[in-house]
C-alpha cells in the first residue's frame, strides 16, 4: 500500500465567539491516498468546511488549531511557517474550488487576467518573480490557460479570456474555477460543495469533469458535500462528520450498502428517494459552544448508552478501509441474525 498523501491526526479547531468558545472540530481524523476522491459529508454546521479550510491553511484569525499532526506529502502543515504555507502549499500544492464561483472571482478583471495572475504567482514549474511579468512568460501562461479551458469543455476559449465573470453562466464559471484549481498542478484539490449552486443537468456535467480531470492530473480531491447523491457519484471513499467529529469512513459502496454508525444509517434513511415514511432524525444539531459530552451524537442516537454519554468512542477498523467511531456499531452479523 502506498503512503497516504494527507493524514489528519486528532486535529481540533475552536473559535472564540461572543457566547464562548465554539469547538468546531473535535479531534478529527482523516487520511487521503494519492489520486483518491474522498467525500466529506455531513449536515450544515458539522465542520466539513472548517476541516477543508484547516487543511488549506485559510482559517480566520480567531481560529485556534491544535492537534497531533496534519501531514501532507511528508510535511506537517500545523508546524509550517506562514510564508512557506502561502507560497508552496496554498494555491500551489493544495488548491480550492469554492461553492459559489461568482464571489470567488474579482468582478473588475477579465477571466484571462485572473488566470494569468494565478499562473504568475503559482506556476507549477517556476518560482514567482516579485517584479515584472515578461512577455514570453505571459505568452506561455496564456497558452497553458487556453489548453486547460479546452480541457474543461468551454467553447471558444480565446474569446472567453476577454470576458468578465458576470458574462458567464454559473456552470461556465465553475468550469473556469476547476481549470484554475488544476493549473498549478496541485497534489490535492479541495472542492467545497462545488455543485450545490448548480442545476442537476449542469451538476452531472461538472462532476464528470472533475472526476476525469483529477484522474488525468493525478490529483487527490477532498470533496465536501451535504448531498449524499453527489458523494455517490464522484467519491471513492466517504467520511461522515457530525457536530465536529468524524464518525465513519468507508469506501462508497460499503458506506451506502452497509453503514455501521447509527447516524450514517439515519442519514441514509432520510433520503427522499428511499424514505416513503418521511422519517427525519429527531432533535436538533447541538450547540458547538456547549457540545454534548462523549459522542456528540448521543442525545439523538437511538442506540445511545451511558458509555456514549461519558466516553468518546475511539476510531477502530471494522474491516479493511472501514473506520468506525461508535460504541455500538451495527454489525453485519446482527443483520444476518435479524433477517
Amino acid at each position: 500500500m502506498t503512503a497516504d498523501l494527507l493524514t489528519v491526526r486528532d486535529v481540533s479547531v475552536s473559535f472564540a465567539t461572543e457566547s464562548g468558545t465554539a469547538r468546531v472540530l473535535d479531534a478529527v481524523n482523516l487520511s487521503l491516498r494519492p489520486g483518491e476522491i474522498m467525500g466529506l459529508v455531513g449536515e450544515s454546521g458539522c465542520g466539513k468546511t472548517t476541516l477543508a479550510r484547516t487543511i488549506l491553511g485559510a482559517l480566520p484569525p480567531n481560529a485556534q488549531v491544535r492537534g497531533a499532526g496534519l501531514e501532507f506529502a511528508g510535511r506537517d502543515l500545523l508546524r509550517l511557517d506562514a510564508r512557506t504555507q502561502a507560497t508552496q502549499m496554498r494555491g500551489r500544492a493544495i488548491t480550492f474550488v469554492p461553492q459559489d464561483p461568482f464571489s470567488a472571482f474579482n468582478p473588475l478583471f477579465s477571466i484571462g487576467d485572473q488566470i494569468t495572475e494565478l499562473l504568475r504567482w503559482k506556476s507549477p514549474d517556476r518560482a514567482p518573480r516579485r517584479f515584472g511579468y515578461p512577455r514570453a512568460r505571459r505568452r506561455t501562461d496564456r497558452a497553458r490557460a487556453l489548453a486547460l479551458l479546452r480541457a474543461v469543455h468551454l467553447p471558444d476559449p480565446e474569446r472567453l479570456l476577454a470576458k468578465y465573470p458576470h458574462e458567464l453562466s454559473g456552470g461556465q464559471r465553475q468550469r473556469v474555477m476547476i481549470a484554475m484549481a488544476l493549473l498549478p498542478e496541485p497534489r490535492l484539490v479541495i472542492a467545497d460543495e462545488p455543485t450545490t449552486a448548480l442545476d442537476v443537468t449542469i451538476q452531472a456535467q461538472i462532476l464528470k469533469l472533475l472526476r476525469t480531470l483529477a484522474n488525468e492530473h493525478g490529483a487527490s480531491v477532498l470533496f465536501t458535500t451535504h448531498d449524499l447523491g453527489t458523494a455517490w457519484e464522484i467519491c471513492d471513499r466517504v467520511t461522515v462528520m457530525y457536530a465536529g467529529q468524524t464518525l465513519e469512513t468507508a469506501p462508497i459502496e460499503r458506506f451506502v450498502r452497509r453503514p455501521m454508525v447509527p447516524y450514517t444509517r439515519l442519514l441514509l434513511d432520510s433520503l427522499p428517494s428511499r424514505n416513503a415514511a418521511l422519517q427525519g432524525i429527531p432533535g436538533d444539531v447541538p450547540s458547538l459552544v456547549s457540545p454534548p459530552s462523549g459522542c456528540r451524537f448521543h442525545p439523538r442516537c437511538p442506540q445511545a448508552s451511558d458509555l456514549c454519554r461519558v466516553e468518546r468512542p475511539p476510531a477502530s477498523v471494522a474491516e479493511e478501509g472501514h473506520l468506525v467511531s461508535c460504541h455500538h456499531p451495527h454489525m453485519a452479523t446482527q443483520e444476518a441474525a435479524a433477517g
Partner: protein, 323 residues
Amino acid sequence: MMSDTAPILDLHDVSTQFPVRNAWGRRVGWLRAVDAVSLSVGRGEILGVVGESGCGKTTLGKTIAGIHRPANGSIRFEGNEIGGLAANESRVLRRHLQYCYQDPGASLDPHWKIGRALEEPLVIHTSTSSAERRARVRDVLAAVGLPAGHLDLYPHEISGGQQRRVGLARILMLTPSLVVLDEPTSGLDVSVQATVLRLFLELRQRFDLTYLFISHDLAVVHLVSQRIAVMYLGKVVECGDTEQVFAAPAHPYTQSLLAAVPVVGGRRVTETFLLEGEPPSPGRLPSGCRFRTRCPRAEGRCAEEEPALRTLADGRTAACHFA
C-alpha cells in the same frame, strides 16, 4: 387528470413578461418568463412544478399569487377570474390563496411577538373579535406543533425550525384553500427536510389544502406530488401523473432531467449522462422548439415548428414532435 369536481385553479394561456432595458433605461424588448402556460389543479391535489433555475417556475407561482400581473391569459381560482385584476380588487378573492416563500420563518418581524404576528392577517382581512382571533391563533399554533407559550416570545427566542413553523401558521390563519409553496425544502438538510415535508402533508390533511409545490428537487416532488408539470424556458413541456412521468418520461427534456438526478446506491449518472450544453438565454430563444439546441433527438423540423402541448394516449400532455 383532473378530479371529478371543478379544478380549484385553472390557468389558460398565461404569460408573464418583464421589460428588458438597455443601459439608459429604454425598453429594448420583452422577456417572457412564463409563456402561454395552461394548467389546472384539482381540489386537494399536490401539483409539483419542476425545472431548472430560470425556467419560470417561481414566476409562475408569483403570477398565480398576484405578485406579478400576467401579460395575458386567464387565471381562474375557485371559479373567479383573478388574472387581470389589480391588487386591491382581487384581495378578497385571493384571501384563500397564499404564497409561501422558501423560508417562511424569515419573513417574521423581529420586533413583533409571535402572537401579534399571527393575529395580523385576521385583523387586516376579517372583522372577528379579539377573543375569536386569539382562539384561532391558539388552534393554528397547536396544529403546526408549537406550544401556546410561544405566543409571547419574539422570533429570535425560538429556533430556526420553530420560526419556520410560525411562518407556516401565519399562512394558515386565513384558512387558505390553495398554498403556493416556492422551493420549501431547498437549503434544508435531509434529516430536517423529511420532518418539514411530513408537516406539509399533515397540514394538508387537517386544513383541506391544495398545494402548488414548486421545487428543483425531483426526488422530493416524486415523493409528495400526485401530478407534476415540467417547465423549460417558460414553457410547460410535460405534465401528468407523477408516477407515469417518473416511470416513462415522454419529453426528451424530462428524460434528461430525470437521468441527471443522482440516486444513492443506483446507477451512476456521471457514467451515463449525455446531455451537453446549458440552457440558452431566455432573452434570445432559439426558433421552433426551445429545447432543440440541447436535445439529443432534434431534427430539422424542430427548428421550424414549435411543438404544441398535446395529450398522449395515457392522459398526460407533452410538447414534443416525437412524444
